[in-house]
């Protein structure tokens, strides 16, 4: 097994990681960096539970090699919280009741954040299109979509209520 040493920025922190060549970014995040927010639902690019931002764009982290991320900037669901404040999209989806088992949620949040970054006022169809790659077996999507619509109306991060 060949181990590569790479440097990348994860949720704003610079990391030096020793990663086997055949490990995915998903494995690296979970098993080397302890960032278990990102989930493994299918390991095959289908479910989107592993979605993270790579250099500003959402990708399935199960479909990227860890070593490919040398020099890259990665944001996982853990990185959406800033200074103890939820990202508006997190707060709005919680508020809308868009979380049941929660397994899809980290990926949904990254896809939703990325959608609002590139299109601050999406239509319902655009929201659905952005979620094609995020399977949710619990909610039926309605409340997730409601949450994203609400998030689009919020501009400021939301203070976490204890």
């Amino acid at each position: 097994m060949t181990i590569h040493t790479i440097t990348c920025t994860v949720n704003g922190e610079s990391e030096v990681v020793e990663v086997p060549a055949h490990w995915t970014l998903l494995q690296m995040l979970r098993e080397k960096l302890g960032l278990t927010g990102t989930k493994n639902g299918c390991a095959g690019g289908e479910c989107g539970a592993c979605t993270v931002m790579l250099n500003g764009a959402p990708v399935n982290s199960c479909m990227v090699l860890g070593v490919e991320c040398d020099g890259a900037t990665i944001v996982t669901v853990e990185g959406l919280v800033k200074d103890g404040q939820l990202d508006p999209v997190q707060a709005a989806i919680v508020e809308a009741g868009g979380v049941q088992c929660g397994f899809c949620t980290p990926g949904v949040l990254i896809s939703a954040r990325s959608l609002l970054d590139r299109n601050p006022n999406p239509t319902e169809d655009e929201i659905k299109e952005a979620l094609v790659g995020n399977l949710c077996r619990c909610t039926g999507y309605v409340r997730i979509i409601d949450g994203i619509k609400e998030a689009a109306k919020l501009n400021e991060p939301v203070v976490i209520k204890e």
């Binding site: 097994m1 060949t2 590569h4 086997p20 060549a21 055949h22 490990w23 995915t24 494995q27 493994n40 299918c42 390991a43 095959g44 690019g45 989107g48 979605t51 790579l54 764009a57 959402p58 990708v59 399935n60 199960c62 479909m63 990227v64 090699l65 070593v67 490919e68 896809s111 990325s114 299109e129 952005a130 094609v132 790659g133 995020n134």
Partner: protein, 297 residues
């Protein structure tokens, strides 16, 4: 044998060469046990499924000379570097303006986050009969620029595919970019894809159709069609082009042409559909695609 729910990738080493020459040299010295890596969206799935057991190295060719270009030139057309992902391609203004069918087919591939990795050149090089973007590239008259330490060359897409997963590429070949000439004036196109669900799936059947005014044929309009997932390779239906040399595109000729499309395909049964279903769906989708062209004309 029980299959793991979340199989990890089998072991291999990752090679990141600095130049095309180095990459090509490595690939030819390790023929049979190495492959070029672009987005990986197909390679990883196949490796996880246990295919390509002999694979020991993935050679990352992203970022090598010419693989990152995306340019449009009024004379020579569009150049799409091998590493250009589908989202970048489909949002490129010149693609939307001059190659709208290409933008349309890219947006039908899987989901947004996958299209940030998936590439059109990768889709072509996999030589899967199901590639969504391949039909449009065929109808646009695509040509691949191929680098090899032994010399560079061009491969026309219409002679590129030789079987499922097989192309004319040899060990050490690296496709650096795809070239699409300026489309004929007034070209319109349509891609219809039958999925098991509404979005995000591989094609059970894919029909790409295009038409453009052409004074060199008696009918005045050239109509072309490419089919996905219904033959060992992506299929251009020459019978359609021949038929519409004489015949005008009308609601009647659409019926006959759809039958020609169905007769030309040789589908197989697989997990996504039976051969018989596929054949019948080719006829339906061909009819719909040609009707869509008729409405756009």
């Amino acid at each position: 044998m029980a299959r793991e729910a979340h199989p990890a990738l089998p072991e291999f080493d990752y090679i990141k060469p600095k130049t095309l020459a180095e990459a090509s040299q490595f690939l030819s010295e390790h023929a049979g046990e190495s492959r070029p890596l672009l987005g990986g969206t197909d390679i990883f799935v196949r490796l996880r499924d246990g295919a390509w057991k002999e694979n020991k190295f993935l050679v990352d060719v992203k970022g090598l000379d010419g693989t990152d270009v995306l340019t449009f030139d009024e004379q020579t057309g569009l150049t799409v570097g091998a590493a250009v992902c589908m989202n970048r391609l489909s949002s490129f203004p010149a693609v939307k303006e001059h190659y709208p069918l290409l933008a349309e087919v890219c947006d039908t591939v899987a989901a947004y986050q996958l299209r940030n990795r998936a590439t059109v050149v990768g889709n072509i090089c996999n030589a899967s009969p199901a590639g969504d973007t391949v039909g449009a590239c065929l109808l646009y008259g695509g040509i691949l620029n191929v680098f090899n330490v032994g010399g560079t060359r061009q491969e026309a897409l219409n002679t590129f595919f030789v079987g499922p997963g097989k192309s004319v590429l040899k060990p050490g070949d690296i496709v650096t970019s795809l070239q699409l000439p300026i489309p004929p004036k007034g070209m319109i196109g349509k891609y219809l894809k039958l999925n098991r669900n509404n979005r995000g799936d591989l094609a059970i059947v894919g029909v790409t159709a295009a038409a453009y005014p052409n004074q060199d044929v008696p009918s005045g309009v050239t109509v072309r069609m490419a089919l996905a997932s219904v033959a060992p390779t992506p299929l251009v239906v020459s019978a359609i082009e021949d038929y519409f040399k004489q015949e005008k595109l009308t609601s009647d000729t659409v019926q006959t042409a759809a039958q020609l499309a169905m007769d030309s395909c040789k589908p197989i049964d697989d997990v996504r559909g039976t051969a018989r279903y596929r054949s019948l769906m080719v006829r339906n989708l061909a009819k719909q695609a040609l009707t869509a062209l008729l409405e756009k004309m």
